[in-house]
């Protein structure tokens, strides 16, 4: 049965303001977790592996819970998922501070916060944006939300460092738990009226939507490309400081590089979203991935100096999360907005598997070969692969044969 297309239900300003503040908090709070490694492991007498395993589990839980959080958001509304996600977030942060065993730490910092992330970040918020912002402004709006998430990451590292220094690591976590509750009132701004989630166009079941997406070549290509995004970003984020240390760089070089990546990431994500309104998104994605390969190759080829590190950090910053708006906008363009959050969650799962591989393989191959050369080479080759697979993506709406009523 074919139904008339739905009209936007919430104002764009409201959706953008509330969505942007939500992802600023949800993406920002977790971004500085590395700062807790030393104080927590020192106080609790745990190995670094205990801490690192919990963070790895968090990333996987985020990815695995994403499609389910998206499914519930598409079916019952993002508002409910945001409320539950926020409560998980606050509980996870408080329990993270109280955990006295490695298992409890993994349950709180790993599973609970990972699930909270799935319920409060891009996939869920993008569903509301896709349903309430007109298609001609959708990519730009997704760019604004992604830039807000990037800003959160940029902002919260110094804030969390200050909190730990001023209140101690445990109270800092409790304060962040309270701060995460600020998402609750903001979630009301994304509460869509009853009936807003009713399907438009042809009715489709969840199972049919999943089968359709996974059987569609362009979705497979986008998903493969997003794996590379996760691999590159997390490999560089996790292993870059030790790479610089191995090459005799001072610690201030690593922190300045961190700041530059954060700063230019905000600019890059916004620009990618805005550019998505003007040109085919597959070309934007392809350009981002090939430029990443070029930038990494140039960085490795050039003599390593603080300024080459800063230039690398700034250019990689522009390309950091800039894949997020075009990837999600293409999903909405192809499949429509009915299952946007769920399908976005599936694509993001691939990103998280890539993230896990980037962090894990980086360490594994370094252990085997005594240098990062092989992983850098892998990152370059994967960038070329992602650039190529994004080129044939078809951005047009998928053709669905009309179902004749019985």
């Amino acid at each position: 049965m074919t139904l008339p297309p739905a009209q936007p239900k919430l104002s764009m300003t409201q959706v953008l303001l509330c969505g942007a503040f939500i992802v600023t908090l949800s993406m920002g709070i977790r971004h500085g977790f590395g700062l807790w490694l030393q104080p927590i492991t020192g106080d609790r007498g745990w190995s670094r592996e205990t801490f690192a395993l919990a963070i790895a589990v968090q990333n996987l839980a985020w990815g695995l819970a994403g499609p389910f959080a998206g499914m519930v958001a598409d079916r019952f509304g993002a508002f409910r998922v945001l409320i539950v996600g926020t409560l998980f977030y606050a509980a996870g942060l408080v329990l993270m501070g109280l955990a006295t065993t490695g298992l409890a730490f993994m349950g709180s910092a790993g599973i609970l916060i990972g699930m909270a992330q799935a319920g409060t970040t891009y996939a869920v918020v993008y569903g509301v944006i896709a349903r309430n912002v007109a298609p001609e402004k959708r990519s730009w709006a997704m760019g604004v939300a992604a830039a807000a998430g990037s800003f959160g990451q940029f902002l919260m590292v110094p804030v969390e460092s200050w909190l730990i220094g001023s209140f101690g690591w445990q109270y800092a976590l409790f304060i962040l738990g309270c701060l995460s509750l600020a998402i609750l009132p903001l979630a009301f701004g994304l509460r869509e009226p009853a009936g807003a989630l009713a399907p438009t166009g042809q009715k489709q079941s969840i199972g049919a939507a999943v089968r359709e997406a996974f059987g569609y070549r362009s979705f497979q290509l986008l998903t493969a490309g997003y794996f590379v995004c996760g691999f590159q970003v997390v490999f560089i984020g996790v292993h870059m400081p030790s790479y610089l240390k191995d090459h005799g760089m001072g610690p201030e070089v690593a922190t300045t590089a961190l700041a530059l990546i954060g700063l230019f990431n905000v600019i890059g994500t916004y620009a990618a979203g805005a550019l998505g309104q003007r040109m085919p998104k597959r070309y934007i994605l392809s350009a981002i991935y090939i430029l990443r390969s070029v930038v990494i190759a140039a960085f490795l080829w050039a003599p390593l100096t603080p300024w080459s590190v800063y230039l690398f950090a700034a250019t990689m910053g522009v390309l950091w999360l800039s894949t997020v708006p075009p990837t999600n906008a293409v999903v909405a363009q192809i499949f429509g907005v009915q299952y946007m959050s769920m399908l976005g969650g599936f694509v993001f799962l691939s990103h998280q598997v890539g993230s896990f591989m980037g962090a894990w393989l980086g360490g594994k191959l370094f252990g085997l070969y005594g240098s990062y050369d092989v992983v850098w080479g892998l990152a370059i080759a994967l960038g070329v692969f992602a650039a190529l697979v994004n080129l044939p993506v078809r951005e047009g709406a998928i053709h669905r044969p009309l179902v004749q009523p019985a």
């Binding site: 104002s11 490694l37 030393q38 110094p158 460092s161 240390k245 201030e252 922190t255 961190l258 700041a259």
Partner: protein, 46 residues
């Protein structure tokens, strides 16, 4: 029409606010105390 495009002064104000916010956070990263604190913690991770 549902969405009106932003007036020029609003757009300029929005960009100015964004630049100010980004500049303020970047300056926070450059404060000597924070650089040392961050560097110690980041370095201790590896």
């Amino acid at each position: 029409m549902r969405h009106r495009s932003a007036t020029p002064w609003r757009r300029v104000a929005a960009y100015a606010a964004a630049v100010l916010a980004l500049g303020a956070v970047f300056a926070a990263y450059l404060s000597p105390h924070l650089v040392m604190d961050l560097a110690t913690r980041v370095w201790a991770c590896f």
